[in-house]
Structures are given as structure tokens and as C-alpha cells.
């Protein structure tokens, strides 16, 4: 499969990206390119810039890009608002999905889905049609429809929040999904459910970036590439074996790469 996708144009290209928050540099020249059907894993210590990278791609307003570019299907997206990026098919699965009291999860999912459908020139769904759609998708992540009538993420357990993220991914059918530590805080059963959900949603046209600390997610979803990040840079890229090495030796082992550089 990889040889075929090689010929395709990348969905996402991050070229020599430098970024900072409140004048504190976080990213110091990140380059990554994701083609359709590819699964990339980014690993690295806490604070190395993994989450920052994902938020910058999604358009978080707190970060400032100081150098480099982000291209989505060939176009620079720096001037796009977060909602425009989402509508065009960029999805960020949050590490800590935030609670929003008072706003119904169902209504939120419907408005979000319709924003994406509108962009795709698809008909917007009314409440009834949307309920039919969302019920199919609920099965993918084994969620109960009771989740829909609650406020967004309010009172959800850690695992429920993560499943709600994957439900959103299923509804929005993104071109690229960046999943930031979707596996953290999940027990083994929940991890399997989430992983199988991700696999069912993605296809040969979707690109996926998994940000994770653990091999166990990568056992479920085998990455084509593994990148190791340290201090705002990708210091090593390899195949899925690299994750196994990392598991074996720990991040201290990667310090050698920096010295080599």
C-alpha cells in the first residue's frame, strides 16, 4: 500500500515550522509530510512540543508562527480561522476535551457536522436525519445515546470524553486527523474500542497523526512512520520498529540522537 500512496500528493505538509507562545519558542523547525492513507506516530517527552504542533495545525490563537509554513492539500493555511480549517477537513482530537456546560452535545455535534457538510456542498441535516446518522456512528465507539442529551463533555469520565472525540471524528470525516494522546487515561477495553473506531473511520484517503507515549496504541494501529520529537524538533524518523526500540530503551536513548546532530 505504501508504494502506491507514495505517488499521491501530501495532505499535510509542515515545513521547517518555528512557533512560540508569549515569546517563548516551542517549535524549532518541525518538518513532517503526511500522504493519504498514511499513519504517522509522534512520540516524545512531555513538553517537547507535540501538543503545541497539533494545536498550531488546528489554528489555536495563542501560538504565533515565527517561521516556516503549514500546507493543507497544497495550500498555506496560516491565514485560516480554526473553524475554516475544521470545515475543510482538519481534525484535532484533544488530549483534554473541555467541558462546556449548558450546550447540548447533540446540538453541538449537529452544528459541527452541518458546518462540514456545508463546506462539502452536501445538504445540511435536520434534527431527525441527524439523529439517524449519529446513532449509526455511536456504535463505532460503543457509546450510549444518553451521551447525546448531556452537555458537551460535562461529567464525562476520561474514557467517555475520548470516545466523544472519536465520535466527532466519525461525524466530520476529516481528511487528516491529529489525535493528541487519545490513548491516555484509557483502560485496555476502552483503548481497543477507540482504536477500532479510528481504524473503521479512516481509509486510504485519510491521513492520521497519532501523538502518544505508549506502544500499546501502536499495537492496535500500526504506524507507517514514527517520529521522535525533542525540544521542538523531530530528531529521528523511522518505521514502526522505532517505537518498539523507544519502548525498550526509554527517551534517554533518544538523547544520543541530539548529540549526534
Amino acid at each position: 500500500m505504501q508504494s502506491k500512496t507514495r505517488e499521491l500528493d501530501p495532505i499535510l505538509e509542515v515545513n521547517n515550522l518555528f512557533a512560540s507562545i508569549e515569546n517563548l519558542p516551542i517549535l524549532k523547525g518541525v518538518t513532517i509530510s503526511v500522504k493519504p492513507g498514511e499513519i504517522h506516530a509522534i512520540m516524545g517527552r512531555n513538553g517537547c512540543g507535540k501538543s503545541t504542533l497539533s494545536k498550531i495545525i488546528a489554528g489555536h490563537p495563542s501560538y504565533k508562527i515565527t517561521k516556516g509554513e503549514i500546507k493543507f492539500i497544497g495550500n498555506d493555511i496560516q491565514s485560516l480561522e480554526p473553524e475554516e480549517r475544521a470545515q475543510s477537513g482538519i481534525f484535532l482530537g484533544f488530549q483534554y476535551p473541555i467541558e462546556i456546560p449548558g450546550v447540548s452535545n447533540l446540538e453541538f455535534l449537529r452544528v459541527a457536522t452541518n458546518a462540514r457538510r456545508k463546506f462539502l456542498n452536501k445538504e445540511e441535516l435536520d434534527t431527525f436525519d441527524f439523529e439517524d446518522l449519529v446513532k449509526q456512528k455511536l456504535d463505532l465507539v460503543k457509546m450510549d445515546s444518553a451521551f447525546l442529551s448531556r452537555s458537551i463533555n460535562q461529567g464525562f469520565s476520561g474514557g467517555e470524553k475520548k470516545r466523544n472525540e472519536i465520535l466527532q471524528m466519525a461525524l466530520l470525516e476529516p481528511k487528516i486527523a491529529i489525535l493528541d494522546e487519545t490513548d491516555s487515561g484509557l483502560d485496555i477495553d476502552a483503548l481497543r474500542i477507540v482504536a477500532s473506531g479510528i481504524k473503521k473511520i479512516s481509509n486510504e484517503r485519510t491521513g492520521i497523526i497519532l501523538i502518544t507515549h505508549y506502544q500499546r496504541l501502536l499495537d492496535e494501529i500500526k504506524p507507517d512512520y514514527v517520529h521522535v520529537m525533542s525540544d521542538g524538533q523531530i530528531i529521528k524518523t523511522g518505521g514502526s520498529d522505532l517505537a518498539l526500540e523507544l519502548e525498550k530503551h526509554g527517551y534517554e536513548w533518544t538523547d544520543n540522537f541530539i548529540k549526534e546532530q
Binding site: 489554528g59 484535532l92 462546556i100 450546550v103 453541538f108 458546518a115 452537555s151
Partner: protein, 480 residues
């Protein structure tokens, strides 16, 4: 940060109702003394008891001090620099709408309150008040067939003097407070509603208050009486043009519910709030009180307060009748340099009385939004219950929210519950919604509506949609 500025832009929606109607008005000269009051009373051809009511109130007012306990700061009001009577010039007696100055009809048209026979709202009867006088009341005949009286208070003074004499000032006495006393002395017009025994009012009744003149105060007075086993839903809306001076609005509303009667009183207040620097805007000092006189009677206040430079308002319930019920549902939104000190008083006097308070305050910009409420259980209010919930939402980091609950109980066999919370629309919540394709403005508006849901559910249907739209307008940058 980018988002913070955006929030600021979004909540600074220009005021849509700021136009002035160019119309010839009859104004009396500025200033307030006994002669002013005699002049107003004379213009309205009032009976002597009413003149005495006014003079009595004025004399009391002169001895009173302007209250300063609220969490408000404003330039001292010069009561001699206000015009106390301003009315659009028109023919002496108007017998039909055709004789109303088209400019006035046009004004109300523009405000979305068409009055003419062809265009009037089909399911709501409207009393339109322009500065000091009532212009027109729709559906009067249809309502009269059910025995319902709905007219301006000036007309009621002429045609239903017995009811006015019996009930005016019976809920809010002339010397109740500084602003109520002022209103009692100089009130110009307002609405009067009487629902006879056993009648469920066949349509919603509504008053629309429009301040047009820049230098005159508005002092309207509303009186609603619901006889035994009757019910009515009453709506009130208000707007004013943009002036760089402050206009004083001091209204009094009195509600009386007899045995098994119910009154639902809903307000959408959108007086001009002043500009971003806090110049201009209405000073809104209002006394609203309902008396649940009868057994099992019910008075329910719901309000959406979005306008005015200053809001000082505590719609209250006196729960006298046993098992009577008082409710207060409020959304107050302040922005820029607006100040609101609003809440309610639930005075439990009769046994087994119940009250519910749900207050939602939203503060944006540099505004200050305070909830102030009193729940009192009298010595005879055994088995009575109160539930209060006061939530505040902050937008940006310059706004302030306060909650001042006062609780007094002289009755051990009663229950009082109070819950309060404060939250902030955070950048991360907004980013979460945006990162799912939801436009920034819609995201803010979704969160604000979600926050207000409990209160909006209490508003009459047409009003709920309007309130949602109004908040969205206040919070949207591009629409309008």
C-alpha cells in the same frame, strides 16, 4: 491575545434602535415642583384623589434620600434638569388609529411592532407608549368581549376610576422608595390590565415603551389585576434612541393576583446602553412588585435585561395567600461600561408558600453585573419553601460579577436553598467549538444561550425566540 480582542468586537454590536423620530412634541418646561405635578394632572384631566396621591408622593419624595446601597456608580442626577412631560402633538381626541400621526406608526413599525389593523401582530395585543403617552392599544374590542380591560392607565383613570382608586399604590406605596415616590408624583402613562373572575386571557398582552425625547424622563406605571381563577401573560419591551446624555426612566409596576389567579410578566429590556466609553444611555430605576393576595395565586416574573447604562430593578413577590407561588427568572447581560444591580425579593407571609429564583448574569467588557436578592420567611410562613440559583458568566477578563443574597427567616418550619456559581467563557472552550467548524460568533452565542437555557424556557414562545435573537445580536459582530 487574538481571541480576547475578538470577544470584545463581538459583544460590541451597534445598537439597532438608536434612531430618533422627528416629531413635534408638547413638552412642559424642565424642573419639578408642586406646580409641575398640578400641570401634569391637569393635562390628564385627573380626578382629585389622583392629584392628591401625586402631591402626597411628591412631599414624601422631597424628604427622602436617593439610595446609594446598590453596587452602582453614576453622576448625580439633577432632578430639576429633567422634563417631566413630553407628548407627541396630535389631535385632541383620537377615535381611531387612522388619526394617529403616521410618523408614530412608522416608528413602531421600524421597531417591529406594527399597530395598524392590516399589519398588527395576530396573537398579541399591544399597548404602544411613546415618551409620556400611550399611542394606541390593539385588540381592545376583541378583549372587551371577554371582559378583559386592556388600555392605557390614563384611559383607565377616566373609565375605570373605581379600580384605579382601589388598587393604585396598594402594592408599591407612594413612599416605598425614592424612585417609586418620584414615579407616583409624576407618572405620565403606562398600561392597565384587568382580567375578570374565571377568565383566561385569550391572547398575550404586551406594552411597548419607546423613549424618543432626549431631555425628558419616562415615568410609566403599570397596573395588572387578575381576579379569582383568572390568568394572563403580559409582555413588556423597551427601546430608546442614542443620546449622549443620560435619560432617567423610573417606572412602577404593580400586580395583584386573587385566589387561584396567575400572572406571568415577561420583560425584554433593551434601552440604549450608552456607547463604549459609557457616554449616554438610560438610567433604569424601576420598582416592580406583585402581590399574591389570594390563596394558590401565582406571580411569575421573567426578564431579559440587556440594555440601559444602569439597571436598578428587583421584581418582587409578596406571598400573602396560603400556598401562593412566586417565581423570578432573569437573564441580565452587561457590556462595555454598563452596570446592573438586579434581583428579586420573595417575601413569604402566608403558610405553605413557594418561591423559585433563577438568575443568570452575563458580564462582558468592563461592565459590572450584580445579583441582589432577599428571601424572607415571615413568622406565619410555616411549610414554605424557596429555591434560589444564581449563576454568573464572565466574558473577557475586565468584567465583574457579584452575588448578594440576603436571607431572613422567622419560621423554623421552612426551607431556603441557595446555589450560586461563576464561570467564564474560556479561550479553550471557544477553540474547542471552533476546531469543530463552528464559527466564532456562533460558538459564543451557543455558550451564552446554553447558560441562559433555564430562563429562556420560561419565556412565552415568541418572546423566547426574540430573546435568543437579542442576545445573539448583542454578541454578534457581523449581523445587524
Amino acid at each position: 491575545m487574538v481571541t480576547k480582542n475578538l470577544v470584545k468586537d463581538v459583544v460590541s454590536e451597534p445598537y439597532k434602535y438608536g434612531f430618533v423620530t422627528d416629531i413635534e412634541t408638547e413638552k412642559i418646561s424642565k424642573g419639578l415642583n408642586e406646580d409641575t405635578i398640578r400641570l401634569i394632572s391637569e393635562k390628564k384631566e385627573e380626578p382629585e384623589y389622583l392629584l392628591n396621591f401625586r402631591l402626597n408622593a411628591f412631599r414624601k419624595w422631597q424628604k427622602m434620600k436617593e439610595p446609594n446601597w446598590a453596587d452602582l456608580g453614576y453622576k448625580k442626577i439633577d432632578y430639576q434638569d429633567i422634563i417631566y412631560y413630553s407628548a407627541p402633538k396630535q389631535k385632541e381626541k383620537i377615535s381611531s388609529l387612522d388619526e394617529v400621526d403616521p410618523k408614530l406608526l412608522e416608528t413602531f413599525d421600524k421597531l417591529g411592532i406594527p399597530l395598524t389593523e392590516q399589519k398588527k401582530l395576530t396573537n398579541v395585543a399591544v399597548d404602544a407608549v411613546f415618551d409620556s403617552v400611550s399611542i394606541a392599544t390593539t385588540f381592545k374590542k376583541e378583549l372587551a368581549e371577554h371582559g378583559v380591560i386592556f388600555c392605557s392607565i390614563s384611559e383607565a383613570v377616566k373609565d375605570h376610576s373605581d379600580l384605579i382608586e382601589k388598587y393604585l399604590g396598594s402594592v408599591v406605596p407612594a413612599n416605598d422608595n425614592y424612585f417609586a415616590a418620584l414615579n407616583s408624583a409624576v407618572f405620565s402613562d403606562g398600561s392597565f390590565v384587568y382580567i375578570p373572575k374565571g377568565v383566561k386571557c385569550p391572547m398575550d398582552l404586551s406594552s411597548y415603551f419607546r423613549i424618543n425625547s432626549g431631555d425628558s424622563g419616562q415615568f410609566e406605571r403599570t397596573l395588572i389585576i387578575a381576579e379569582e381563577s383568572s390568568s394572563v401573560s403580559y409582555l413588556e419591551g423597551c427601546t430608546a434612541p442614542m443620546f449622549d446624555t443620560n435619560t432617567l426612566h423610573a417606572a412602577v409596576v404593580e400586580l395583584i393576583a386573587l385566589d387561584d389567579a396567575s400572572i406571568k410578566y415577561s420583560t425584554v429590556q433593551n434601552w440604549y446602553a450608552g456607547n463604549e466609553e459609557g457616554v449616554g444611555g438610560i438610567f433604569n430605576f424601576v420598582t416592580k412588585r406583585g402581590k399574591c393576595l389570594g390563596k394558590r395565586s401565582k406571580i411569575s416574573w421573567s426578564q431579559v435585561e440587556t440594555g440601559s447604562a444602569i439597571t436598578w430593578k428587583y421584581p418582587s413577590c409578596l406571598l400573602l395567600g396560603e400556598e401562593s407561588v412566586g417565581e423570578f427568572y432573569s437573564v441580565a447581560l452587561t457590556n462595555n461600561l454598563q452596570q446592573a444591580d438586579t434581583g428579586t425579593k420573595m417575601i413569604h407571609i402566608g403558610p405553605r408558600t413557594k418561591s423559585t429564583i433563577v438568575s443568570k448574569g452575563i458580564s462582558a467588557g468592563n461592565s459590572v453585573n450584580s445579583y441582589r436578592g432577599l428571601v424572607k420567611m415571615g413568622s406565619k410562613a410555616s411549610g414554605s419553601r424557596n429555591y434560589s440559583q444564581c449563576d454568573s458568566m464572565l466574558i473577557g477578563d475586565q468584567a465583574a460579577a457579584n452575588t448578594f443574597p440576603y436571607i431572613q427567616s422567622q419560621q423554623p418550619n421552612s426551607e431556603i436553598e441557595h446555589e450560586a456559581s461563576t464561570c467564564r467563557i474560556s479561550e479553550d472552550q471557544l477553540f474547542y467549538l471552533q476546531s469543530r467548524g463552528i464559527e466564532f460568533e456562533e460558538a459564543v452565542s451557543m455558550m451564552v444561550s446554553g447558560f441562559c437555557r433555564d430562563v429562556f424556557n420560561q419565556l412565552p414562545m415568541e418572546f423566547a425566540a426574540e430573546a435568543d435573537k437579542l442576545l445573539a445580536l448583542k454578541l454578534e459582530g457581523s449581523v445587524g
